[in-house]
Symmetry: C2
Subunit: 422 residues, 2 copies
Amino acid sequence: MNRHSHAPSSILDILQAIADGRSDPDREIAAAFDRIAATDGEIKAFTRVADRATVKAASGPLAGIAFAVKDIFDTRDMPTEHGSAIYRDHRPVADSAVVAMARAAGATVIGKATTTEFASMDPTVTRNPHNLGHTPGGSSAGSAAAVAAGMVPLACGSQTGGSVIRPASFCGVAGFKPSFRLLPTVGMKTFAYTLDTPGLFAASVADVAFAGEALARRPLAVDGRTEASGLTVGLYRSHIDNRLDPEMRAAWEEAARFLERAGARLVDVEEPAALAAARDAHGTIQGFEASLALADEYRTHRSLLGPKVAAILDEAAQVEPASYDDARRVARIGRKAASALFETADVLLAPSALGPAPESLESTGDPLMNKLWTLTGNPVVNVPGLAASNGLPLGLSIIARFGRDARALAVASALEALIRAA
Amino acid sequence: MNRHSHAPSSILDILQAIADGRSDPDREIAAAFDRIAATDGEIKAFTRVADRATVKAASGPLAGIAFAVKDIFDTRDMPTEHGSAIYRDHRPVADSAVVAMARAAGATVIGKATTTEFASMDPTVTRNPHNLGHTPGGSSAGSAAAVAAGMVPLACGSQTGGSVIRPASFCGVAGFKPSFRLLPTVGMKTFAYTLDTPGLFAASVADVAFAGEALARRPLAVDGRTEASGLTVGLYRSHIDNRLDPEMRAAWEEAARFLERAGARLVDVEEPAALAAARDAHGTIQGFEASLALADEYRTHRSLLGPKVAAILDEAAQVEPASYDDARRVARIGRKAASALFETADVLLAPSALGPAPESLESTGDPLMNKLWTLTGNPVVNVPGLAASNGLPLGLSIIARFGRDARALAVASALEALIRAA
């Protein structure tokens, strides 16, 4: 299997260069502007780039880090369009919470990244940096592509089905979907309020962990001391695995062998019925909540909606409240079942997508491998580094118990190091 | 104890008059405009009234019902200012979910009701219809006062501490704080995202239950068949009861005696330590979440903030994430303890406020009796009908198990009937 060589810029490398006096924050922000100018004509990851004359580096742990913001997060100084014609040139009054947290940590908002319409399934114009004919995934298309193409070292996205982990996998970057509510959704356009989860993209797991710590002010940074030795890693097996591309199946097995050779104990974890049911409940919950969250847009501007989001809302209009209430009970039982999985395994290992990015700009791929963990709220980290025979990245997910974000990041970083060393 | 006589207009009476051909929806909306024009100069419940020339009745179960919207809920056709100078004349693109639900049910948005700044503690200009020198409570000041003064039969509000149940108690109207998330917060200004709960005000419990059913599309309407006989009613006793005004204490005992005489079994329910701790955790959770939700407003426009919300945010800036995470764990344990209470009682009865509305327009009163149930997410209904010796209303809360909103409303309606019959 080919290993993918990529050139995203690493947060930790940039901060080291600044600390060593080889660079400074303003120079790093200027370099990001230069890279966007040189690259984004082809990749189309940005809907808007900040005004170079007025934007500068700030201070804090992320000083000098250019930050791309998915265009469903409100920004005070740039329009926020949610990928929708209804919100053309819409200007929010205040920054969303995640943007305010990033600015408070010293990051510089350098532009707004493309999003599928309302972070749903209608594709953007963005292209996969590894092969321009392939989708970067979605809904956080621009965020993943901007990091993968090396334009910015950090981007935020959001996941309601698989919108952080899938594009991270397709683009070969680290993606971090934290435990539900670790990062607040305030000022982010709502699609489904019990599912929507802000997340982050960066070059490596250590980079995304450092950024997560800087934003959330919790101990998430990776110290490099977590070893595979002594860990029990569960290979999460479910009936949907028969949908996996053979190359993804091989990548999964290869990652498992890396961990085993480094001393981890592997166990098969068969999906309990409660979690299969929870995955099946995801669509009902997402649709019903979206039909309330976007009720006015649907009623007032249906003709301006993209065909995929319109179809989701048409179907959701038929969901009875009682069906939704039933699905929420199934989800609640599922969350308990998800916690119980971690009585037998420290973390779970699973594919981040069905296979590499499909050859199409008409679809953003399938969130099937991700949506269960969005619904349960468990932290998930996409580990990049492996690739398919066509050179496109194949990502693997490390999943940890709810609230154990630091553990997910530490083990993911250890796996990433094993893949790199191989 | 004096019984309070009030003249709010009843949703069910209006709908009956329309059904009987004695009125029609357009006439009812016109009458509401007339009442606002005649009354609001004194009460000051509205920040804006809709354009009479363009607004008309719609169709649906709430056709002919004029609906006042707390000014933290986005409306497409009227500015939404959150009670804040920062949002002066701010015009949202789309209706909030609750407003869209009300419109879909046929209600007519007739105006925006005053809110304390960001639904916190800085008072509005609104006056209590029962005595203009007294506060109507807050934060949903205009909503409660507009219903109490008979200007509109229905209003929405929101509760993060005690912002629905307390003003309902002070103004002598029915207030319904549903189970957390029964009504979505989408398009509502966030103060604390794990606490913010939309709610409703109407003349009587049966009115608010009917409106709740029309909006939420769940069976909540009161059929009048619930009897006190056979019910076990818990009198919820906690150490904060020593703060109660003697007249509120007497009203609580009087309501309990009404239920007992009608056949209910009364039991004392002593507050478990887990719930005392959960109440104490409320402030930490509210402050920390508000500091993230309003981070940009605080950083960019602190001088435009009112003194009370500024003080809350100043203090919240000192809360460490670890303290918040601890408080969230206490809240989670508290939610389980709250559910366990309903193994020994069908519902709980407790005061809705410490006493009648204070004689002041400088304070909106104290949410002490409400904030525990906001944190646990249990449904609470304020039952009006009793009053203090100065004529000001005293409300009582019926609290039910999470998700048992219909039970809370049914028992509250039964109690209301007993009070009226007495």
